[in-house]
């Protein structure tokens, strides 16, 4: 388990640099700046793109993603809303049906629960239920994360949204993906839940300048290996990459997969990898029960059962509401050591 936040960030940065080394000719910017580029480029490209959210204007956004945008684009296009998540998303759904391209910022994913009716019962249903005649192309940007924020502000709900047909759910780990996915989400005609992570906004990585879009589907192999497949997404990717480095020092070759898009879920990439490595460990920051890890594990046993040499391992949070105290919080969130241990258990 990592002992301090600084250590964690350092670990993430080193792992991030490892990812970035494979890329050439792109600028190194932060995850936050990659998001800012995506938003401003799309706002410049299409006057129907607008931002709605709590304190995104004068305040600059809780995680400072939208700082300065209101001065740049005006109050009409950068709307400070009341603290009313259901209302913000519902208004955005209606506006999107009628031709606008609203990007909603929900301060954290914890507050998305207040908006879940509009996301699940409205946005996700509009296109199918009305026989393809209407679309609700909203983007809901929100942030997962933790850091002594207490029980109601430290949760990870991507699995809830990934459960819902009619949504696309994206959870990018790298600045490059953040930019490419966000631009595609804004241009696309599906409702997208775009989940960031409060602890990776400062991560740096190489990002193409100018117009760069990525299809909103498909996992990515971040590190090739032969002995065990480590599967994760968002900040979990950095745990997996850190663990892979340590495993390499012990002579174990780990393949690391970044799921990136959680609906539609690209289990094919995982299955293909497991057919090679015969072992699989899934790393998630959320609770394991009913989580995405369970879904991925089910797909692996369904399609690669004969290739498996060990049960699929899962590393997740301890199943308690998040305690405030620093030492207790560190016990809840999985660390690199647990990933290493789970990988070695799969290899035992």
């Amino acid at each position: 388990m990592a002992s301090t936040l600084a250590e964690l960030e350092d670990m993430q940065r080193r792992a991030q640099e490892a990812v970035a080394q494979n890329e050439q000719g792109e600028r190194e910017i932060t995850y936050r700046d990659a998001l800012r580029e995506a938003i401003t480029e799309e706002m410049d490209r299409n006057k129907n793109v607008l931002l709605m959210g709590e304190d995104i204007g004068a305040y600059g956004g809780s995680y400072v993603v939208t700082r300065g945008f209101q001065e740049q684009y005006g109050r009409k296009r950068v709307i400070d809303t009341p603290i009313a998540e259901l209302g913000i998303v519902g208004m955005a759904v209606g506006a999107s049906m009628a031709g606008l391209r609203p990007i909603v910022e929900l301060m954290t994913i914890n507050f998305s629960l207040l908006a879940i009716d509009q996301i699940v019962n409205h946005a996700a249903k509009i296109h199918y239920m009305f026989d393809g005649k209407f679309t609700a192309p909203i983007v809901v940007r929100t942030a997962s994360g933790w850091g002594q924020l207490g029980a109601t502000h430290s949760q990870t709900f991507e699995g809830w949204f990934a459960h819902i047909p009619g949504l696309r759910v994206v959870m990018p780990a790298t600045p490059k993906d953040a930019k490419g996915f966000l631009k595609s989400a804004i241009r696309g005609n599906d409702p997208v839940v775009f989940i960031e992570h409060s602890l990776i906004y400062r991560n740096r990585g190489l990002v193409p300048a100018g117009d760069y879009t990525l299809p909103l589907e498909g996992a990515e192999v971040r590190r090739e290996g032969t002995d065990v497949t480590l599967v994760s997404w968002s900040r979990g990717l950095y745990l997996a990459l850190g663990a892979a480095e340590e495993l390499a020092e012990q002579g174990i070759s780990a393949e690391v997969i970044d799921m990136r898009v959680l609906r539609p879920l690209d289990t094919e990439t995982v299955i293909e990898s497991v057919r090679k490595t015969s072992r699989c460990v899934i790393v998630e920051e959320s609770w394991r029960t009913m989580g995405l890890g369970a879904e991925i594990a089910a797909a692996v046993q369904e399609h690669a059962f004969d290739y498996l040499d060990a049960p699929v391992g899962r590393v997740g949070s301890i199943e308690v509401p998040m305690p405030y105290a620093r030492n207790l919080e560190r016990l809840v969130i999985p660390g690199k050591d647990e990933v290493v241990a789970a990988a070695k258990q799969a290899l035992a």
Binding site: A92, G94, A95, A98, P137
Partner: protein
């Protein structure tokens, strides 16, 4: 609430004086169409041709017909799930509406939505919605799009008295009032939230009081008077398009039949229903036209006879229509990843 002076003329008299005979009879025709359509629907429900829920609009016809008659081409409509009347009043083909109730491929959404999710895109009817109060936000959001794109139209959003207790109602009204959106909030107060009388579900007897608290101009209208509804909606339309912000109409009405056909109606007694049946919007209107010398009994008789044929044909059409093709089950779950180039105006 706006203070109302004693009217110099009876509500609806201005419209009565200014409309042609054809126009006046068109309102009658629409109300009779809805009434007969609903009676036939109930019969087909009993024959198990229609499944699930069936929420009849009988008794409330004047609200839909009067309000929708005041809407223009550039206006938009979003309603709750008791929506057969709105679809018929705004010009949906009765055949397609009945086919949708039957769940057939020729229905308004090809059998995808069902009776609670009728649409008529040609007249910007964005659907009936079935999560109580959720759609009020969709309507307000369309109002936001109209204001943003500087389109000279209004969004009319219709909901029941029961919906005025939900959070979405207050969030929508607050933002619409705050941002002066061109939205007519039309509350159909039929005295019951499903089977709970308003004295048990609302802290105030008139729902317009809630709008007043958010700074929205409102009026309470006799919803059994189709001409009064028309005039009120016209006033609301003028108010909204002049940039004054939203307008709230509380239409006092009564549902002659149960909440749905599954309703045993244990919560109100027969005497109460009989008392309200004296305020039948169709017979009241017929009497008014006769007394004003605007129409003769023969006019009504010929409309009644014609409507019988229309509704009989709708049932026959629905019954003969094919079921949705099972191969279409997964269509319209997602749109293309990237949208067409952005265009000004409404991008449907």
């Amino acid at each position: 609430m706006a203070s109302k002076a004693e009217p110099a003329v009876r509500a609806g008299d201005v419209a009565l004086g200014s409309m042609s005979k054809d126009e006046l009879l068109e309102l009658y025709r629409q109300m009779v169409l809805i009434r007969r359509f609903e009676e036939h629907s109930a019969e087909q429900y009993a024959f198990a041709k229609i499944g699930g829920f069936l929420h009849l609009y009988i008794g409330e016809e004047a609200v839909a017909v009067g309000a929708i008659h005041a809407m223009r081409e550039q206006d938009h409509l979003v309603t709750h799930y008791r929506d057969h009347g709105y679809a018929l009043a705004i010009g949906s083909d009765p055949n397609a509406v009945m086919a949708e109730l039957f769940g057939r491929s020729t229905g308004t959404t090809g059998g995808r939505g069902g009776s609670m999710h009728l649409i008529h895109p040609e007249r910007n009817f964005w659907g009936g919605y079935a999560i109580v109060s959720g759609h009020i936000l969709i309507g307000a959001g369309i109002g936001l799009a109209l204001q943003y794109q500087e389109i000279d139209g209004i969004a009319v959003v219709i909901f029941g008295d029961g919906a005025t207790n939900g959070g979405a109602f207050f969030e929508a009204l607050n933002m619409a009032s705050l941002w002066k959106l061109p939205v007519v909030f039309l509350c159909e107060n039929n005295l019951y939230a499903m089977g709970t009388a308003s004295e048990y579900h609302s802290a105030v007897p008139q729902m317009a009081t809630k709008a007043a608290g958010l700074g929205i101009t409102s009026e309470i209208i006799d919803g059994q008077d189709v001409l009064a509804m028309y005039e009120a909606t016209q006033r609301a339309r003028e108010y909204c398009t002049a940039g004054n912000g939203p307008y709230f109409i509380e239409a006092m009405t009564y549902r002659f039949r149960g909440h749905s056909l599954a309703d045993p109606e244990t919560y109100r007694d027969k005497d109460e229903i009989e008392e309200h049946r004296a305020d039948d919007p169709i017979s009241l209107y017929r009497e008014r036209l006769l007394q004003a010398g605007k129409a003769a009994q023969a006019d009504f008789d010929s409309i009644d006879a014609a409507i019988e044929l229309v509704v009989d044909e709708a049932v026959e059409f629905a019954d003969k229509s094919p079921w949705p093709d099972p191969s279409t089950l997964r269509l319209c779950l997602r749109r293309r990843v990237l949208a067409r180039p952005a265009v000004a105006g409404f991008d449907l």
